[in-house]
Amino acid sequence: MDLNYTKEETAFRGEVREFIRGHLPGDLSRKVLEHKRLGKEDYVRWQKILFEKGWLAAGWPVEYGGTGWSAIQRFIFEDESAAAGAPRLTPFGLHMVGPVIIAFGTDHQKKQYLPRILSSEDWWCQGYSEPGSGSDLASLKTRAERKGDKYIVNGQKTWNTHGQWADMCFCLVRTSSEGKKQDGISFLLIDMHSPGITVRPIITLEGEHEVNEIWFENVEVPVQNLVGDENRGWTCAKFLLSHERTGIAGVGASKRELHYLKHIATQEQEGGKPLMEDPLFRDRVAKVEIDLMALEITCLRVASADRDGKAPGPEASILKIKGTEIQQELTELMMDAVGPYALPHLPMAWGDHWIGAHVGPDYAAPLAARYFNYRKTTIYGGSNEIQRNIIAQMVLGL
């Protein structure tokens, strides 16, 4: 046992840091560090730079364009990327549908889609949740009826992130209503430009457009877009949900946010002293910092088990629970740090080209919105209540 990084790992970290320092555009990282709004072009810009370097698909097998990195290396890469303020990689292609296509897809699907994910030519989105099927995902109702060499898809999906930018959607659809509800589900790849698709924005509480509802009305999908066997889509769904667990905790990003929190709390004054010297505020910061130190090690333990050939089991749900709790606590602390200046709502100030006046310090403008927006983290990706159910049943056997 040695919890120090090996020489090779340290060298790798240096290489990653060096590359990012040389290639991450300053305006992009500034946006991330200062909590500005990111557009599709921001994400794509960075992904293209990584793609050129061959570092985009860290978790994929080398033959499909992956890096061949160990789980620890991937952790280091994410850590450095987050610290430098690199935009997060959009997960839908790279971390979700990509691995599913690699594991279950046909050669045609692999040739068709994987390169376009890597080149950022296709922006993917996810068609999982439905208005009536949230935590109980398997109860989904969107139907796909086979007609000749096509499926005809009808139904409604919701909480679809960035569907307004998407070229493709991977979708769970019901192809049979026989047997257990999990048994009649199929995994379809749907072209978002197909006739019959309507994307309606859902404005969330902080006033932003991040998620959508999607309606499918007699949308035709070629049968070759079925991944895996018909009615066996639940296997893909579960695979997808359990894949790429180490990133789920967001340790790198939380470390960056902790750093930013301290920056803010050093600027803010409380009773004539920096807020960071207020024993009560400092105590809350110390608590979340220690939680985060611990979570980093917990993540590395899971990543390390991954390397040793053991797949991360349901105990990785711990990472989701604790990781999102920490993320929320950090947004709450930042909001609290700016006191009354959390109140003004200035969404124009989070944009690209705002040069107008702020109310209060610059950094204050997006903080309440982030606090509101981050309530989602304990809801999405399987709510934290569902994660607790998973651990209770699968780990504790209760």
């Binding site: 949740s129 009536g132 099927s133 949230g134 935590s135 109980d136 109860s139 919701t158 909480w159 859902i202 404005i203 969330t204 509480l205 902080e206 006033g207 998620v211 803010e268 004054q269 409380e270 009773g271 009560l280 505020f281 609290d336 006191g339 009354p340 959390a342 109140l343 003004p344 709502h345 200035l346 006046a357 109310v359 209060g360 309440a368 919105a369 606090y371 509101f372 309530r375 989602k376 304990t378 809801i379 999405y380 709510s383 209540e385 607790r388």
Partner: protein, 395 residues
């Protein structure tokens, strides 16, 4: 000790709720927000006609003669109906300054117009970088013959953009943190050298940052005693905080009821999610917090008129702390239990949640109230008042 409402109080409560239920809706709120409308003149007039705007004013001033409890009942109703009206700004804050501090001739001019809804007042007190220190006044009022010239900045002036007049706190003596040397002035909204930037708060209330770049006012604009406004401001702020506690309780009540309803109707895994014990217990913990907050809002409403200043301050700080803490928990859990639906702008849940968050921040969040409460007790209730420093006692 008596927790029951009098017949008049019950009538007041019912009539406000009935009026709002009939004349205001969540859809109207959303439309007002989309249109950047700070208030609804029609609704305000309706409230005036109902007598609601006169609730805390004495009968001699043309008011209803209500106390803390009556204000509580109104604020609870305004809260659970998610209104955007300037009740706090005009009636409780600015109106409170006038009613408790102004000369009779000033009252005669102002109060009837507040009560009949024809005049909107705003309270311009908070300043940049004051954080939660409500005693921090840096804006200066310099004598110019009989007049005063006001220089400085005010921030987060609630409903400032629709105000006809402002009640502005400014320093006629001493340094920013001093307890003495503060005076209140009436400043017309169309005064020269008065600039401002309007913006919404995150829950929709519109506020103003005010620049006073040499605003000249006459001696008749002074409210109350020169240099001695801080105790008056404190009294009014305590009443405003008690009012906010009541509003928060109205919101939490509605939010809890909505959440319990959702738990009963939302189906997952073939049953209402309210069958799941973990969610049941969460709903119970929300109720416990709500009832504790309600108790403190009642206590604050009951003590806010007390002549025992130290008891009043202690109770109000405790109530604001409890409400802020409870509001955070109840709001966060309401979102969580509603899942994605709680995150949308379309449901009132998120609006309630954001308003609760704003209420916590206004005039000092739970953490700062706890510190205020804890230090208040150490050396008696007047500990908050800093003693005058030698350097400024010039008069």
């Amino acid at each position: 000790m008596d927790f029951s409402l009098t017949e008049e109080q019950t009538m007041l409560k019912d009539s406000v709720n009935r009026f709002l239920g009939k004349n205001f809706s969540f859809e109207q709120r959303r439309k007002m927000l989309a249109d950047r409308q700070p208030m609804s003149t029609q609704l305000w007039q309706g409230l005036a006609e109902l007598g609601v705007l006169g609730v805390p004013f004495s009968p001699e001033d043309g008011g209803y003669g209500g106390g803390g409890v009556e204000t509580m009942l109104v604020m609870e109703a305004l809260g659970c109906n998610l209104t955007l009206e300037p009740y706090l700004a005009t009636v409780v804050l600015a109106g409170g300054c006038v009613a408790r501090g102004a000369a009779d001739w000033q009252k005669k001019i102002l109060l009837p117009k507040i009560i009949d809804g024809s005049m909107i007042l705003a309270f311009a007190h908070s300043e940049p970088n004051a954080r939660f220190d409500l005693g921090h006044v840096g804006t200066r009022a310099t004598r110019d013959g009989n007049n005063f010239v006001l220089e400085g900045e005010k921030t987060l002036v609630l409903h400032g953009s629709v105000a006809d007049k402002f009640i502005v706190s400014a320093r006629t003596a001493g340094d920013p943190g001093d307890a003495r040397g503060v005076t209140l002035f009436i400043v017309e909204a169309d005064e020269e050298n008065l600039g401002g930037q309007e913006y919404p708060l995150f829950e929709g209330t519109r506020a103003l940052d005010l620049q006073l770049a040499g605003v000249k006012v006459g001696p008749e604009s002074v409210v109350g005693t020169l240099d001695q406004a801080m105790p008056l401001i404190d009294t009014v702020l305590d009443r405003a905080m008690a009012a906010l506690c009541a509003e928060a309780v109205g919101i939490m009540d509605a939010l809890h009821a909505t959440t319990v309803d959702y738990l009963k109707t939302r189906q997952q895994f073939g049953q209402p999610i309210g069958r799941f014990q973990a969610l049941q217990h969460r709903a119970v913990d929300m109720l416990v917090q709500l009832e504790q907050a309600r108790s403190m809002a009642l206590l604050a409403a009951s003590k806010v008129d007390s002549s025992d200043v130290s008891e009043r301050r202690r109770v109000v700080a405790a109530a604001k702390e409890m409400t802020g803490r409870a509001g955070r928990y109840v709001g966060q859990q309401a979102i969580q239990l509603h899942g994605g639906m709680g995150m949308t702008d379309e449901l009132n849940v998120s609006h309630y949640f954001k308003r609760l968050t704003a209420i916590d921040v206004l005039f000092g969040n739970a953490a700062s109230q706890r510190t205020r409460f804890a230090t208040m007790k150490e050396s008696g209730a007047t500990a908050q008042m800093k003693p005058p420093r030698k350097s400024w006692v010039k008069i």
